[in-house]
Symmetry: C2
Subunit: 127 residues, 2 copies
DNA sequence: CGGGATCCGAGCCGATACTG
DNA sequence: CAGTATCGGCTCGGATCCCG
């Protein structure tokens, strides 16, 4: 799980809770993708660059546990399972969207700065 | 707002850049702590719940590489090194602050939901 | 269709010890 | 003070196979 017990670290820094969730590879994308409405397991898989089922399940279960989304199984054939944001999950959207916005605006800058930094380091090393 | 399904894959990629940085355990806290002005290595150590020097160095170097902060060495005795946010680093603050705000506001809710969920699961398991 | 089970590697992170 | 060096753990997440 992203984080287990509620110990001192969470008391002094509640941010860890969200940070750990945001930090994992797929949660943010899931929140944003479910923002428009519920989606099925396969829909999410497709959108999320073919994340493996295990990891997607793992992530979804964790988010369900935290009350960010609900999992609804329809007793049909073929099986259908829908994931939908709870109000709590929706409340995360305005927090997460700026992240992607910032990324889109600054990705080029960061990448070029990074490259420049690496070049400088290489130069120092060479003499 | 998240928009056209076809573009979602593109939203994902630049986001990874920021997500990976946010995901690591200390970057967000560092950005927030440097928001008020430059800080020394030891000051950061103290504030960040005694993160080990290795990890702090590792994180700071990564952020420096991405152009989020600068590292200034003062030729003094004893040695002094200050870390300061660049404008780019500062631009990240309004993105990160809502995260901690959300965390503080909802930590109790998430924790209790999580506990309730775990209890339910245990009950099912027990019969 | 929507997963579960298993194996496995990568890398973040921490503790401890030592240095210019 | 501000790191570096070494060792090791643990979790994340990908691949693959299998099931109701």
């Amino acid at each position: 799980m992203v984080k287990e017990a509620a110990d001192e670290s969470e008391i002094c820094c509640p941010s860890r809770l969200v940070l750990d969730r945001i930090g994992d590879k797929w949660s943010v994308l899931i929140v944003l993708n479910l923002g428009d409405g519920p989606k099925r397991f396969s829909e999410l898989r497709g959108v999320l660059h073919h994340v493996t089922p295990k990891v997607l399940t793992y992530t979804l279960r964790g988010m369900e546990r935290d009350g960010l989304l609900t999992r609804t199984v329809f007793a049909e054939v073929p099986p259908r399972v829908e994931y939908e944001l709870t109000p709590l999950g929706h409340s995360l959207r305005p927090v997460m969207e700026p992240i992607t916005t910032w990324a889109e605006e600054h990705v080029d800058e960061v990448l070029s700065l990074r490259k420049a930094h690496d070049t400088r380091s290489a130069d120092e090393f060479a003499g």
